[in-house]
Symmetry: C2
Subunit: 218 residues, 2 copies
Amino acid sequence: MNTRFYFDYISPYAYLAFTQLPAIEQRTGRAIELTPVLFAGLLNAHGNLGPAEIPAKRAYIIRDVLRLAHDFGVPLQTPPAHPFNPLPALRISSVIQDANLRSTIVAAIFGAVWGRGEAIDTPEGIKAALADLPLEIDELIERANTLDAKNTLRQQTERAVAKGIFGVPTILIDEELFWGVDSLRHFEHYLSHGNPFDTEQVHKWENLPSAATRRLSK
Amino acid sequence: MNTRFYFDYISPYAYLAFTQLPAIEQRTGRAIELTPVLFAGLLNAHGNLGPAEIPAKRAYIIRDVLRLAHDFGVPLQTPPAHPFNPLPALRISSVIQDANLRSTIVAAIFGAVWGRGEAIDTPEGIKAALADLPLEIDELIERANTLDAKNTLRQQTERAVAKGIFGVPTILIDEELFWGVDSLRHFEHYLSHGNPFDTEQVHKWENLPSAATRRLSK
């Protein structure tokens, strides 16, 4: 069974989790496949709101991300604008079939945008981020601009939605989801010990009646 | 400066974090004041959605909560219905001025609803939860039903909103917020080391321009 890491460059949490994958792969001996998805597409599909769309939450998250970067000892710089359009970078990362090359490209783009705070929302920005890699970069950018590449990213996002994925980063293994930086340790626990609950307990909760509904203001 | 723990009985994450407070108080030598707030009021004020309001997120959270209960080694049972009306229990917890007695009451109610899975959304449920405590329970329930008690809870919620609090559990100390179970360790780090970032870095991020807006579906 594949293990997949769903991400969007727009998310600093996805960057932070991504920086931990090599160590996790080494500890667990498990290859993790990188799957770009459009976070905005997940939000739309689930009728959810992004953290940056609630001002108080956005203010909080800035501090939380900086705390986590400190925990991990990884560099964190903010890009020139946020949110930004992640589509060109996501499509480029989607058209690469070779897992190792894809991983190298994703690392280069994440490092540029959140490690060094560079813009990656234009072809120029992406070229600069990938400048050191042995790529036919113009040809790659052209391929990422085809209908085919657009469909690939859309399908990846739709399949993620169908799996119940509502945010990034999320790791999917078997049918289990691990959402967010703090669930990385739960993912590792799952690999070695399985789930620490029984399915009955989950089903009971899933089927609880609701005894109250929030009156939505406005 | 007071340290406050903002909670609503409706949240299993608030229960999980609450179970950790005694150990944290012991390690840090710091008293944490319990402040009931209405989570639905926070959501309304910020235009936010509760996790149980997104079906995919609700499904995920059930598993996440069970994993965290396992991490902490604390019992977790689901109440007969969820969401439920937390107002009577929150108001009762708000009218007790004595910090120790309040703490005992909150522990009893949290233990009943999430530790043993009992209903606490009726006077009968609350009476059962508090049966072992030396309280004039009928008088307490009456007091919790006064306009005064209702205003106290409303004001606590409004003051929380004004402090930027958007979810439960949240710890407030100085002007710093620590939201969620996973931020408890950041709270402890803050007590001993302060913030691991400089204010300039935060302000820069807060003032970043936006280069993309999500097209909301529907």
